[in-house]
């Protein structure tokens, strides 16, 4: 199944703080998943869930394929749905007033069950990111 998702959020935090929240391993663990992320072009890392939903292996293999601090980062994303099916996650940050507009695109291929899960989970994750950045939702 083809994925083509876009989520846009406004945060009251400045761009540098939002960038930190998406590139600091400890902060990523608070709102996304446990990980061994490094903010380095080419770095391979895994996102892991201790209690994965049924039907999913529980981890995503990723790599940093673009890194332009503090405005753009792209990950490759392989969730185990199929060897030929990979996707990309694109983070774009832009100043918006005194805060930040974050746009997350998730584009590529995965199976139907995983596509449903991804579509449902990103809004929840971005809400958790808002809490991590001190914004009420």
């Amino acid at each position: 199944m083809r994925l083509d998702l876009t989520f846009t959020e406004h945060f009251t935090a400045p761009v540098q703080n939002v960038w930190l929240a998406i590139t600091d391993r400890r902060m990523l663990a608070l709102w996304l998943m446990e990980n061994d992320f490094e903010p380095r072009l080419g770095a391979r890392f895994a996102l892991r869930r201790a209690d994965p939903m049924s039907g999913w292996r529980g981890w995503v293999e990723c790599a940093v394929i673009e890194l332009e601090p503090p405005t753009r980062m792209v990950w490759s994303w392989s969730d185990g749905a199929g060897e030929e099916m990979t996707s990309r996650v694109i983070f774009e940050l832009q100043e918006e007033g005194t805060g930040t507009r974050l746009t997350v695109h998730h584009i590529g291929d995965t199976d139907d069950a995983m596509a449903k899960m991804i579509r449902e989970r990103w809004p929840i994750k971005l809400q958790a990111l808002a809490s991590t950045l001190g914004d009420e939702r």
């Binding site: 930190l20 400890r26 902060m27 608070l30 809490s131 950045l133």
Partner: protein, 163 residues
């Protein structure tokens, strides 16, 4: 992983939001609450530790006099698990209202932390802001709390390289 959320509201009479904020964020002032070492970074992403290492974490949001958000954990919690602690400071005619929310607390530690925030933070903070020192009752309470942590094995241990 099921966790619990703690929410408390406390009034600090006659104190400005900045004074209340500084009691948490200035290492020397934070140390005065417990008489145990606190080292607090004042940088977003920077680390903090309090109660001689019993509490550790890092800063997520810092708005002096208005808001603190910290990734916060205590010894004995699940490995690498952090809660998110939010301190919201609001000026009122009577002083400063602090609305405190902590999400992601391991359930088996919830009641201890619920009591801990009142007895080892809000009460000492109220006394320091009002009297500039801790009352004998609070000092005794802080000592008992430390002894209980040691007894329960919830105290950071330093392992000697020579052992």
């Amino acid at each position: 992983m099921t966790t619990k959320t703690l929410k408390q509201t406390v009034l600090f009479k006659g104190a400005s939001p900045k004074k209340v904020y500084d009691l948490i964020m200035v290492s020397r002032k934070h140390t005065s609450l417990s008489r145990e070492k606190a080292v607090i970074s004042r940088r977003v992403g920077g680390a903090f530790s309090a109660w001689n290492g019993h509490i550790t974490g890092f800063n997520l949001v810092l708005k002096p006099g208005r808001k603190i958000v910290q990734a916060w954990r205590a010894t004995g919690w699940w490995p690498d698990h952090y809660s998110v602690a939010t301190f919201d400071f609001q000026k009122t005619p009577r002083g400063t209202k602090l609305t405190f929310t902590q999400i992601g607390i391991p359930p088996h530690r919830y009641s201890g932390h619920y009591r801990g925030w009142i007895e080892t933070y809000w009460t000492p903070m109220q006394e320091m802001l009002r009297d500039a020192h801790l009352s004998p009752k609070t000092l005794a309470r802080v000592t008992i709390d430390r002894e209980q942590r040691i007894k329960a094995g919830r105290f950071r241990r330093t392992i000697s390289k020579e052992s």
